[in-house]
C-alpha cells in the first residue's frame, strides 16, 4: 500500500475519532472546545519550523518565520485561553447557591 493511501486512512480514522469524541462534548463547553481544537491544529507549527530552519533560501526562511510566528500565536494563546475558560467552570454544590462561596 502506498504512503498517500495510508495517510488517507489516518485522516479518515482520525476524523471518525474526532467526530465520536467531540459529539460527546456538552454544549456547556463548546467555546472552550473551539479554542482547544484551534490550539491543537496549531500543530501546523511543526511544518512551519521545518520550513524556517531548513536554510533553503531567504524567501523560504522569511515565509517560514511568518508561519512560525502565526502558529506560535495560536499555540501559546490557544492553550492559555482554553485553560482560563476551563478554570471558570465550577460546580455549585448544595447550599450556598450561585457564587455563594465568594
Amino acid at each position: 500500500m502506498n504512503v498517500e493511501l495510508l495517510q488517507l486512512y489516518v485522516f479518515v480514522l482520525a476524523g471518525f475519532v474526532g467526530f465520536l469524541v467531540i459529539s460527546r462534548v456538552p454544549a456547556l463547553l463548546h467555546t472552550p472546545l473551539m479554542s482547544a481544537t484551534n490550539a491543537i491544529s496549531a500543530i501546523s507549527l511543526v511544518g512551519s519550523l521545518v520550513l524556517a530552519g531548513s536554510g533553503r533560501d531567504r524567501v523560504a526562511s522569511v515565509l517560514g518565520f511568518l508561519a512560525v510566528t502565526s502558529a506560535t500565536i495560536n499555540v501559546v494563546g490557544g492553550f492559555l485561553i482554553t485553560d482560563r475558560m476551563l478554570r471558570m467552570f465550577r460546580r455549585g454544590g448544595p447550599g450556598p447557591g450561585p457564587g455563594g462561596r465568594r
Binding site: G18, L29, L66, V76, R87
Partner: protein, 462 residues
C-alpha cells in the same frame, strides 16, 4: 531509521494520543482542565521532536518566530475579555490558516516552482492553500464584523452570489489544471488570490446573528487546511490534529445550523445570511401587559423555581453579574435558579455558558435545551432576558412562520413569564412573538443591566 528520527516519531505519536485524550476530557467539566494541560504537553513534545529533525540546520528564524509568536499569543491568551471571545477565536482561525497557506506556497516554490510536484502532492497542496487562503480572509472579515470594525449587518449587492460562485469556480478550475500540469507558478499564485477573494465574498453577506455558524465553519476549514498540510509534507500528526479540528468545526456547524433552523446545505455552500424573510407586522398594535420592577421583584422573592433564559441581549448589556446577584437573592429566599441555555445564545457556540461561568454562576445550574424544557411546567417564574426568537412558540405551532420547526425553549409553559426587553422590536428573524402577548406574560421594558440592578435593589428591600 536513526535514533533521532525514531525519537521524533515517538514524540509525534505521543502528541497525537495526548490530543485525543485532551479533547475527550472536555466531556466532563471537572476533568477538562487537566486533560487540556496534557494536550499542551503533547504540543511541547511535538515541537521538541521537530527541532530534532535533521532537515533543520539553522535556528535563527525559528527562535525569532517562536519569540514573536509567544509575545503576541500571551496577551491574546491572558488579557482578552470573555465577551470578546468570538472575535478572538475568529482571528486565531486566521493565524492558523496563514501558517498553513505560507507552508503550502513555500513547498510549491521549493519543488522547482511546481516542476517537481507529483500529482498526488499537488492535490494536497491545492487543498491546503485553497482552504487556507479562504480561511485567512474569511476569518479576518468575521473578526472585523464581530469587533465592530465593519458593520455587522449583511453587506449585499446585486450579483453577489454569481461573483462568489465564479471566484470559487475559478479557483477550483486552476486547481484542476495544476493537478494535471503543476509547473505553472503564476496559476498557483492566482489560485491563492482567488481563494483570498472568495473568503471575502463568503463572509461579506453574513450578518451578526449568523456568526456562530460562520465561526464553526471557518474552524472546520482551518482544520482541513492543517490536515492538507500534513498530506503535503508527509506528516501524520498534522493530519490527525487537522482531522480532529475539521471534525469539531463540522460538528459544531451542524449543531448551530440545526439550532438556527437553517438547512445544512445552506451552511455548506455559504449561502446563508440572506435577508431575513419579512415577518407579519399585523400584531404590532396588540396589547402587552407590563409590570413594575417592584411587582416583578415580589414574584421572584416568592418563587420556588426560577428559570432564567439569557439571550444575546444579556451579553450586549453586559448584565451577567447582575443576573448572578439576582439569582443569589432568589436562592437566599429558598428558591432554586436554573439557566436555560439555547444552543445559539451568544455569538458563538457555548458563548453564554462562558459568560455566566465568568460571572461565577456554577455550571451545574446551566442547563441545555433538552434538559430544561420539561422543567418549565414546574417553574414559578421564567425570566427572559434579551432573548426573542428562541422563545417564540410560533416555531412549535405556526407552520407558516419563517422560524417554524426551529427548536425553542418552552418558556410559555411556565406559570409566570417576565420578559426583560429593550422595546417591542421583533427579533432577528423579524417575526412577531406570540409569547409577549400571552396571558401569563408580563413585560419589563428597559436596558437589561439597569433593569436587573433595579430588580436586585427591590428584592433586597422586599
Amino acid at each position: 531509521m536513526t535514533s533521532r528520527a525514531a525519537l521524533t516519531d515517538a514524540a509525534y505519536l505521543a502528541a497525537s494520543i495526548l490530543f485525543v485524550l485532551g479533547l475527550r476530557s472536555l466531556t466532563l467539566p471537572d476533568r477538562a482542565r487537566r486533560g487540556m494541560q496534557l494536550a499542551a504537553i503533547g504540543m511541547l513534545l511535538a515541537i521538541a521532536g521537530t527541532l530534532l529533525k535533521r532537515e533543520i540546520v539553522s535556528y535563527g528564524w525559528i527562535l525569532a518566530g517562536l519569540a514573536l509568536g509567544a509575545g503576541i499569543g500571551w496577551p491574546l491568551g491572558t488579557r482578552v475579555p470573555m465577551t470578546a471571545m468570538p472575535q478572538r477565536i475568529a482571528i486565531s482561525h486566521m493565524f492558523g490558516a496563514v501558517a498553513a497557506t505560507l507552508v503550502g506556497v513555500a513547498e510549491f516554490w521549493h519543488a522547482g516552482r511546481g516542476a517537481a510536484v507529483a500529482q498526488v502532492q499537488m492535490v494536497a497542496l491545492g487543498l491546503e492553500v485553497l482552504f487556507g487562503s479562504l480561511t485567512v480572509t474569511g476569518s479576518f472579515l468575521a473578526f472585523g464584523k464581530l469587533q465592530g470594525l465593519l458593520p455587522a449587518r449583511p453587506l449585499t449587492f446585486p450579483g453577489q452570489n454569481l461573483l462568489s460562485l465564479s471566484l470559487l469556480g475559478g479557483g477550483l478550475g486552476l486547481f484542476g489544471w495544476l493537478v494535471v500540469a503543476p509547473a505553472h507558478p503564476a496559476a498557483f499564485l492566482a489560485m491563492v488570490g482567488l481563494g483570498l477573494a472568495f473568503g471575502i465574498s463568503l463572509v461579506l453577506p453574513i450578518g451578526g446573528a449568523d456568526m456562530p455558524v460562520v465561526i464553526s465553519l471557518l474552524n472546520s476549514y482551518a482544520g482541513l487546511a492543517s490536515a492538507a498540510t500534513g498530506f503535503a509534507i508527509g506528516n501524520e500528526v498534522l493530519i490527525i490534529a487537522g482531522a480532529l479540528d475539521g471534525a469539531s468545526g463540522f460538528l459544531l456547524s451542524l449543531v448551530m445550523s440545526r439550532a438556527m433552523n437553517r438547512p445544512f446545505r445552506n451552511v455548506l455552500f455559504g449561502a446563508f445570511g440572506a435577508a431575513p424573510p419579512p415577518g407579519a407586522e399585523a400584531g404590532a398594535a396588540r396589547p402587552v401587559r407590563s409590570i413594575t420592577v417592584e411587582d416583578a421583584a415580589l414574584q421572584l422573592a416568592f418563587a420556588r423555581l426560577v428559570i432564567v433564559v439569557p439571550g444575546y441581549g444579556l451579553a450586549v448589556a453586559q448584565a451577567q453579574h447582575q443576573v448572578r446577584e439576582l439569582a443569589q437573592l432568589v436562592e437566599r429566599n429558598g428558591g432554586t435558579v436554573l439557566f436555560a441555555i439555547h444552543p445559539v445564545a451568544g455569538r458563538m457556540p457555548g458563548h453564554m455558558n462562558v459568560l455566566l461561568a465568568e460571572a461565577d454562576v456554577p455550571y451545574d445550574r446551566l442547563k441545555e435545551m433538552d434538559e430544561i424544557n420539561p422543567e418549565f411546567e414546574r417553574a414559578d417564574v421564567a425570566l427572559v432576558i434579551g432573548a426573542n426568537d428562541v422563545v417564540n412558540p410560533a416555531a412549535r405551532s405556526d407552520r407558516g412562520s419563517p422560524i417554524s420547526g426551529m427548536p425553542i425553549l418552552d418558556v410559555d409553559r411556565a406559570r409566570q413569564v417576565i420578559v426583560l426587553k429593550r422595546s417591542m422590536a421583533p427579533g432577528f428573524a423579524g417575526v412577531e412573538n406570540e409569547l409577549f402577548h400571552g396571558e401569563r406574560t408580563a413585560m419589563l421594558f428597559g436596558d437589561a443591566r439597569e433593569t436587573l440592578a433595579a430588580l436586585v435593589q427591590a428584592m433586597r428591600q422586599a
